[in-house]
Amino acid sequence: MLNADPVIALLSRALDAAALRQTVHATNVANVNTEDYRRLEVIYSAELQRLQAAGPAIDAQEALQWAQAEPEVVESAETTVRLDQEMAQMAENAVRYQALLGAIERTLGMLRTAARDGRE
């Protein structure tokens, strides 16, 4: 049986992370001329790295455990902002964000179908 709750929770967490990435890219672009500004990036805490070392997640519950890792905004090793790179990464992230929205939409669609006894 499909347990949709962890799937939606998981997708929401991923959507939050993509939104944070969009925020950080936009901040970098806005601060391209700011004195002493160091480029920011989103990273995942040590918790996720530990889970990653343990092997791939196999079901939604375990994946949800992975998703508990909080993304953090830190200064990047690459300190200068390069507009072209920033825009390319922003475009890529926007595509990912929209893919996640599509996945949420389809999960909701399945729930909707179930709620209507399979009638469309």
Partner: protein
């Protein structure tokens, strides 16, 4: 800050480029402005700062996602570029040797600045657009059927 705050940051980025454009235009427009002593026009430059980026302590400490650095035009300063001396003895601002001091505005640098300003503005506008369309799509979630 949520995603709506991103729009503010992109707007601030556009404001900064706008200020840079005004200063660059002023420098170009004043290439023939003369004056003696303190009355002389000196090329201007925009200083952009961000309070949050400066308050950030040691490298490696995470930023708060709710408060990301917002660029602000801190000041417009006169730069210390040496004036260009041109021989023009009939000019009212000429010195004893007949030299007139023109502002040290480099036309090539100014034109390159204009290109960089234009690209910076476009990038912020594009970021604003992308954020807006992502927000719009999120708001449309669950609307089909």
């Amino acid at each position: 800050m949520g995603m709506f705050g991103v729009l503010d940051i992109s707007s601030a980025g556009m404001d900064v480029q706008q200020a840079r454009l005004e200063v660059a235009a002023s420098n170009i427009a004043n290439t023939r402005t003369t004056g003696t002593g303190t009355a002389a026009y000196r090329p201007l430059a925009v200083v952009v700062r961000s309070a949050i980026a400066e308050a950030q302590g040691a490298a490696g400490t995470p930023y708060s996602a709710a408060q990301l650095p917002m660029p602000v035009v801190a000041e417009v300063v006169e730069t210390d570029v040496a004036p260009k001396l041109v021989y023009d003895p009939g000019h009212p601002d000429a010195d004893a040797r007949g030299m007139v001091a023109l502002p040290g505005v480099d036309p090539v640098t100014s034109m390159l600045d204009l290109i960089s300003i234009s690209r910076g503005y476009e990038a912020n506008l594009r970021a604003f657009d992308i954020t807006r369309s992502l927000l719009q799509r999120t708001l449309d979630l669950g609307k089909s059927r």
